[in-house]
């Protein structure tokens, strides 16, 4: 029982990390209809920037805040320079361009920072709380709290601010938004900036739990896609809940299903994606698309 609760909480924390990256993916998908395959790699690069700032002697919190700001700007620049020329294009073009970005960012990081594995400090230390006989890492609770805070902030931004209103309007109908005076281009840039920022936060939290190297987000990305798929690709709340479900399912399957163990855990998101897409393609909270000839 004790083990079960630990697996559950661990899964919730891991799932929050998947959810955070999934949130970044969903933010971009909602506004532009692009699934950004490079989201994980952008987060990886951001984490390396944070690592660089730490090496320069900045305190962790300052380094993180600086990284978030830089990531926001970098996200906007990427949208303007790389994505804008193909926006609204065919799916194949979009997939190829974001995959190109994936490979480019990954290799650039390898070139600049090398391929060694590094450790990354945690915001929350490595203490454990003893609650009713179950040892719970403070870090796990911290991660879940951060994710909930991020979702809360995003909710307020989307629902209560003018920028958020513009972002929702552009997602719904860019043409009409332009007609009522919304700067569509600028709004899309902000959307990518916010997504890059959320991704950077996810990257730093994940690196603290795992390690930091140029490929550490590759595996996480597929879990995040599973989370986003499960939640419905255009629902931020769905992304978070989807992340939790995937995280817990992964923990349970890895612990209690002997066949899966730690090697084949990667099958969990893959099967989840397949099953969701075949049974209920819109996920839990997604909205259906209508096709027309």
């Amino acid at each position: 029982m004790e083990r079960f609760v630990q697996v559950l909480i661990d899964g919730l924390a891991t799932g929050s990390l998947y959810g955070a990256l999934a949130l970044a993916v969903v933010l971009i998908y909602r506004s532009t209809g692009i699934v950004n395959f490079a989201q994980g790699e952008m987060a990886m690069f951001s984490t390396f920037i944070a690592w660089g700032l730490l090496q320069a002697g900045l305190p962790l919190l300052v380094a993180l805040l600086g990284t978030l700001a830089l990531s926001f700007v970098a996200g906007m620049v990427i949208e303007r320079v790389i994505i804008r020329p193909v926006e609204g294009g065919e799916v194949l073009t979009l997939v190829i361009v974001t995959l190109g970005l994936f490979i480019l960012v990954n290799s650039a990081a390898g070139w600049i920072y090398g391929f060694n594995t590094r450790s990354f400090p945690s915001l929350f230390g490595d203490e454990r709380l003893d609650i009713a006989g179950v040892a719970i890492p403070v870090e796990s609770l911290g991660i879940v709290a951060v994710l909930i805070a991020v979702v809360g902030i995003l909710f307020v931004v989307f629902q209560r601010t003018k920028v958020g209103l513009a972002m929702r309007a552009v997602a719904m109908n860019p043409e009409s938004s332009r007609l009522v005076g919304v700067s569509v281009g600028r709004t899309l840039m902000i959307g990518w900036g916010v997504a890059a920022l959320v991704g950077a936060l996810a990257g730093a939290l994940i690196a603290a739990r795992l390690f930091l190297d140029v490929n550490f987000m590759g595996g996480v990305l597929i879990y995040s896609f599973a989370a986003a798929t499960l939640g419905g690709f255009d629902s931020p709340l769905g992304a978070v809940l989807g992340g939790w479900i995937i995280g817990i399912a992964e923990g349970l399957a890895g612990t209690y299903v002997g066949f899966i163990g730690s090697d084949l855990k990667i099958l969990v998101p893959l099967i989840a994606i397949l099953v969701v897409l075949l049974v209920r393609p819109t996920g839990m909270f997604g909205s259906a698309e209508v096709a027309r000839a």
Binding site: V35, V91, L101, F102, L267
Partner: protein
Amino acid sequence: MSSSSRMKRFRLAGWAFVAVVAIVLPFFLGTYRVGQFTQALALAIAVLGLNLLVGYSGQISLGHGAFFALGAYVSAILIVDAGVPYLLTLPIALAVCAVAGFLLGLPALRLHGLYLALVTLGVAIAAPQIIKRAEGLTGGTQGLSVDRPAAPAWIGLADDQYLYFLTLVVTAVMFLLAAGLVRGRVGRALIAIRENEIAAKTMGVDLARYKTGAFAVSAAYAGLGGALFTLPIGFLAPESFPLALSFGFLAAIVVGGLATIGGALFGALFIEFVPVYAADVNTALAGVIYGGVLILFMYLLPGGVMGIRRQIAARRAASQEQDAPAEKQRTEQVKTAGQV
């Protein structure tokens, strides 16, 4: 018009030139280089397979590295465990991969564009893990050593030259088959599906048959390529088939030209030799080039290398007919890339 017959002659001359170069090549190069060209030919088969799927039928697969690996392992396991002659393992690898491709094509029927990309990406990521897990068959992380085929005594060629010509013959056959396939009814049906699925269905194209069929054929090509790729190396391990391989295939079809047959050869040479030379500068350079090329080609040369001629012709036509919008010209470019 005379321009079309001129183009046909131009194309035939091009192919004849490629054939002559391909035949004399191994007599002028050392063992190591011949091995590289053998690998490039094997890659070309897999790249062509992916292009049949992505370029012609418009279905995205980011997971063809998995089929490439499957073909390689089927061939190697049959040689090592069952003592099957290596030539016989090639059609078996092809058949196994065709079945696997058909099976992946079934869920693909319900998945469009992005979602298909997601699922196939998952397959590519999971493949090395599954290979590691099936240790009894695959040797796990230790890998699998296979005796490299020796040239028959009567043929009078060195081993590496023999493998080169074997691969060359298979490659030529597969290219001819693909060219025939896309030129006829099947090719038209696939392009119709790519351009407008609902309209294609209305015109009587059996979507399920053609889409799963495209997956099966495409996977068979990839598997055959994988089997041939591994023969001259004599060793394979899960790390031989990283995610980068699947991305490389995609880069290859974009460089060569989506929905072209000949482009696969350019693309394969690109992904065989770019990493070799780039590694002299920095191990990360190949990735930077791949990524940059994927993005730049989609902006500047959506028809790939094979589309350059067509693009020049289109630009000339557009400058004569001045008010043709540039955007339309670009989409036309992609759409007319449907010929060999």
